[in-house]
């Protein structure tokens, strides 16, 4: 009789502990969302013009490209790798697409066909880069750095100092028009997000990626084809970079290697701030969505607050440090790299 009571007490205690743990985990996973809401509240109060329709429209516009980029990188990071090739590749795609449609430099006019064409090119390059990583067993960080360098060199070669200004009316409409009040570019981002969500949560591909990120050796042992999955991740990355390149060219109205600059690190920041772990296996596209908004909101608010450009970077850095410190799991025995 005593023993039974004792055991059930222990059982109760255990159940309580588990409940506390899972509550903690739920809280941790909600942390990015809470941070986003807190930031929005703070900025609405302190920054003139933040809490306005105009500004929300701006935010949607400005978040679109970083979001697509982050979605591409999410799967890469879920696997535990990193990829820096977007800077060169994105710039290359943007420059090339400008040269393919009606523009100020040459006579090509492929119109809407140019878009799938350049996206295919982007996927191709990304596949090559992925192959070097998968088959060559080279660290993705360095391979993508090399690829980025090569592609940005090609981008510059493609327009030799004089960027091609886009004259195609389709592109102009895409840059400025909207559908149901939301800009076209944002629609592209939303569609990409939905596809990414489906990929992650409703396909085997998504669960394989999570498994590989969590523990590659075990994933191999249960029969997941690691190389094929990794390859598909790079295809998805190439697709996203291609879309980003086109969106960038649309937004800026010309083909310019600068389209790719400053895309990668903010995207990786978005992914991590959102709660996805850099070593892989934890997180997801919803996390990334929140992270991308956090980063965009901060950028936007700093300009609205009129923060001196000299210290803008430092303020961003500090906020990100704070946000990540709050949203990563803490624990004595935890291994953080």
């Amino acid at each position: 009789m005593d023993k039974q009571v004792h055991t059930s007490r222990v059982g109760e205690e255990f159940a309580q502990e588990m409940k506390k743990q899972s509550q903690k985990e739920r809280f941790m996973s909600l942390a990015p969302l809470i941070i986003l809401l807190v930031l929005i509240v703070i900025f609405s109060v302190t920054a003139q013009g933040f809490f306005s329709i105009n500004n929300f429209y701006n935010l949607l516009n400005q978040a679109a490209i970083p979001l697509v980029m982050s979605l591409g990188l999410t799967f890469v990071i879920l696997m535990g790798s990193t990829d820096l090739s977007a800077e060169g590749l994105g710039g290359f795609i943007g420059s090339v697409v400008a040269l393919m449609v009606l523009n100020s430099k040459n006579d090509m006019n492929l119109g809407a066909f140019a878009i799938p064409l350049v996206v295919l090119i982007s996927i191709g390059v990304s596949m090559l880069s992925g192959l070097l990583h998968i088959k060559g067993k080279l660290p993705s960080f360095m391979v993508s750095y090399g690829v980025s360098s090569i592609m940005s060199g090609f981008a510059v070669l493609s327009y030799r100092g004089v960027p091609a200004r886009i004259r195609d009316p389709l592109f102009t409409v895409m840059a400025q028009g909207n559908f149901l009040g939301i800009p076209y570019l944002t629609w592209i981002a939303i569609v990409t997000f939905v596809i990414a969500y489906i990929l992650q949560n409703r396909t085997r591909f998504g669960s394989y990626v999570m498994a590989i990120g969590d523990n590659e050796a075990i994933a191999k042992n249960i029969g997941i084809n690691i190389e094929w999955t990794k390859f598909k991740v790079f295809v998805w990355l190439g697709l996203c970079i291609g879309i980003v390149g086109v969106m960038g060219a649309v937004r800026v109205g010309q083909g310019d290697v600068g389209i790719g600059s400053d895309l990668v690190f903010p995207a990786i920041t978005s992914v991590v701030v959102g709660g996805t772990s850099l070593s892989g296996g934890k997180g997801g596209v919803v996390h990334t969505l929140i992270g991308a908004f956090i980063v965009t909101v901060i950028n936007n608010a700093l300009v609205l607050l009129g923060v001196s450009p000299y210290i803008q970077q430092a303020v961003q850095g500090l906020i990100i440090l704070g946000a990540v410190a709050l949203s990563v799991p803490h624990g004595k025995n935890l291994i953080v790299k």
Partner: protein, 326 residues
């Protein structure tokens, strides 16, 4: 049984030296190619240039190697160097040669800052150093008042040592860099805490279970990285004789590239600090050589990227079938 043993140990020895030799081979092959295309590549004057250019990159790389061996990464080294360069120039005018000590102290502080953010706040090193990169870059802007200015002639005597050289082809700058590299190598290979850094990179949990002070090792690694970056900043200031707050921005990535080309694995636990010399040498030779042989400016980035990929390919360690490469 014994025969087998010796064969296996011989093979193990060979694999290690293979990796080291590959870095050396890459350097030799590329140098040969450049030399054939333009004999001026190996002239005394150009050797002086190469060694001078090499010094700051070497400092960035050997500090970075410590962090990479942990399995982490430090993205802030270039901006710490910028801030250090600006700080040196500003302070030399105010407190004379003591400025060097202050700047070195700053390097230690910056490194510890990274270390604290990573070990105590448990922020992944990627994000932590990305954020500190932004912070130090802003500091560089503020310290310089937003103005890139040349060093005033009255402090030139404190930096003229940067011009000295031996045999007209070995600059003093490089000698100092080499000595620092040796010091770093000794720390990493022969001190207890240095060996712990290796161990943490190989298997952190096991190291912790064995009772080693993992936290201290991590702090040390970041400290070495910060200090290396500050020394690199000093070299920049001495070379350029100016305070330009954006001088180090490009080098955030090059330091990492140099360390990796020197054989340090990004997953940690393998590599040698001394070999980063070869990695840095490779990068400098590629950049210098492209100009000496007259590669068209528009093609330089492409060729640089391609050579980097080739070099990484040659240096990678493909023997470990079970090793997970991220």
């Amino acid at each position: 049984m014994q025969k087998e043993n010796s064969m296996w140990s011989k093979l193990a020895f060979n694999r290690e030296t293979m990796i080291k030799l590959f870095s050396l081979v890459s350097v030799i092959v590329i140098s040969c190619v450049f030399c054939v295309m333009s004999p001026a590549f190996l002239s005394r004057r150009n050797l002086l240039n190469i060694l001078k250019d090499l010094s700051p990159v070497l400092m960035l790389a050997c500090g970075e190697a410590f962090v990479l061996m942990l399995g982490s990464i430090d993205l802030s080294t270039g901006c710490i160097a910028s801030c250090a360069a600006v700080m040196l120039t500003v302070l030399l005018g105010k407190i004379g040669p003591a400025a060097y000590l202050v700047v070195l102290g700053y390097g230690v502080f910056a490194g510890l800052f990274n270390g604290v953010a990573h070990t105590y706040l448990q922020i992944p090193s990627f994000i932590a150093t990305l954020s500190t990169q932004a912070i130090w870059q802003s500091c560089a802007y503020l310290l310089s008042g937003g103005q890139p200015l040349a060093m005033l002639p009255d402090i030139w005597p404190y930096v003229n040592w940067g011009k000295a050289s031996f045999f007209e082809c070995v600059p003093l700058l490089f000698v100092v860099a080499f000595l620092v590299l040796l010091a770093y190598t000794v720390i990493s290979k022969y001190t207890g805490i240095g060996k712990t850094v290796f161990a943490v990179g190989s298997n952190e949990r096991a190291t912790w279970l064995m009772g080693q002070n993992v936290r201290l090792a991590k702090m040390l690694a970041f400290l070495m990285s910060g200090l290396g970056a500050a020394i690199a900043g000093i070299f920049f200031a001495v070379k350029l004789k100016s305070r330009i707050p954006t001088v180090g921005v490009q080098y955030n990535m090059l330091g990492i590239a140099a360390a990796v080309l020197g054989g340090v694995q990004m997953t940690g636990g393998r590599g040698s600090v001394f070999m980063t010399l070869l990695g840095a040498l490779l990068i400098t030779i590629i950049q210098n050589g492209m100009n000496v042989i007259g590669v068209d400016g528009l093609w330089q980035q492409i060729i640089f990227g391609a050579l980097m990929l080739a070099a990484i390919f040659m240096n990678s360690d493909k023997d470990h079938k079970g090793l997970v490469v991220k």
